[in-house]
């Protein structure tokens, strides 16, 4: 593997080994939790207290600090899920399969939060809870894709086969990701156009932008925490007959 430095390659090789992954994530977890809590506290304090009210929407716009990071996460997690699913398909790496399926419930939750907070925001601002415009509809389809992935995985008993089926579904669904992102540019929608994620300068004042970005990074850490916890459990379940699990359990007794 040229282009990628050796220590990085070695890191990934070691992470693909279940016992190493299990031990490493255990040590990593407290750090992730601390960083997540600090970022969330800073982001919420900045967003709810320090940031000024909006010239049009007053204080109601502050729901942006949950809505937008959740919506970004719903797309980000889907891409992570599809890519690790593809890695599992091609290289048959067990841990990639586990990361893919462990991401699905977290992604579904963020999608749900984005839809609900958007609805709560829509009622006072637009005058309606829900419209069938391209952005809202494609985001709803994303929720169904996540639920489909979770359901399909649960429906197949052999988890390695299930992982392959899920990866194919996730990869087909990837086509929805650019649709969600560009829906507000390609079609007329009631939903606003992009504020931050565009080539141009963000159309949000810097005092409001900084807490938003803090929240976005905080949510990334939350995803890591939730996904890794699920992955560890899933790993133990799949490897319950492996020697390292038996040794670990007998040591902890």
């Amino acid at each position: 593997m040229f282009l990628i430095p050796d220590p990085v390659v070695r890191f990934f090789h070691r992470m693909a080994s279940p016992p190493h992954f299990y031990a490493f994530t255990e040590r990593l977890m407290p750090w992730l939790v601390v960083i997540f809590l600090l970022l969330t506290a800073a982001g919420l304090y900045g967003g709810l207290y320090l940031a000024p009210a909006d010239y049009q929407q007053g204080d109601s716009y502050r729901i942006i600090y949950i809505h937008v990071p959740s919506a970004w996460m719903s797309l980000f997690i889907y891409v992570v899920m599809a890519v690790s699913g593809a890695i599992g398909l091609v290289w048959r790496i067990k841990l990639a399969e586990i990361v893919a399926i462990s991401s699905a419930p977290v992604g579904a939750s963020f999608t749900f939060i984005a839809l609900v907070t958007g609805s709560l925001w829509g009622k006072p601002m637009w005058g309606t809870w829900w419209v069938w415009d391209a952005r809202l509809t494609s985001e709803l389809i994303l929720l169904f894709l996540y639920l489909g992935v979770i359901g399909l995985y649960g429906a197949i008993d052999d988890k390695r086969t299930a992982s392959r089926a899920v990866a194919i579904l996730a990869l087909v669904g990837v086509v929805n990701i650019p649709i969600i992102h560009y829906s507000v540019e390609w079609w007329n929608t009631l939903h606003q156009g992009p504020t931050v994620t565009k080539m141009d300068k963000p159309s949000i004042h810097v005092s409001m932008l900084i807490p938003l970005l803090l929240m976005a990074v905080a949510f990334k850490f939350y995803y890591l925490i939730a996904m890794l916890q699920r992955a560890r459990t899933e790993l133990l379940l799949r490897e319950r007959n492996a020697q390292w699990v038996k040794v670990m359990i007998s040591e902890s007794k």
């Binding site: 049009q56 091609v90 637009w126 005058g127 929608t189 009631l190 156009g193």
Partner: protein, 149 residues
Amino acid sequence: MKPARKQRLMLIGLMVIGAGLATGFALKSFNENLMYFFSTTDVVEGKAPKDTLFRLGGMVIKGSVERPNDGLMVRFKLTDFSKDVTVEYTGILPDLFREGQGIVAHGRLNAQGVFIAEEVLAKHDENYMPPEVKDSLKNQPAPVTGQKS
């Protein structure tokens, strides 16, 4: 890379490209239906449906909002900066309804080419800033006359 892996990777690539192309063509052919609203130019050029409900989107022209008979009926002009359409609506407007602000109205055209709205939704734009910054930009949209706030 081992041949089997290479083959699987290529299959996956083809699958994603195939799904993308199929969706692309489908969206292209349903492009009209995916538009949430018609623009005022569509209406003036007769592209909007007649005798049936549809949505009309545009910006409320500054100074065009009037209440002709002291009731809840409000009349205003919508524009997409090329053609204008007059809209009449009886009911309570959303908080964000302002002159110079984008809105989406649901209703139908009458014989005079006036759009009779049954529902008006406000479409806020992508700009977020404190009021002081907006003041310093010196183009604050005037609040709608007669609107309760």
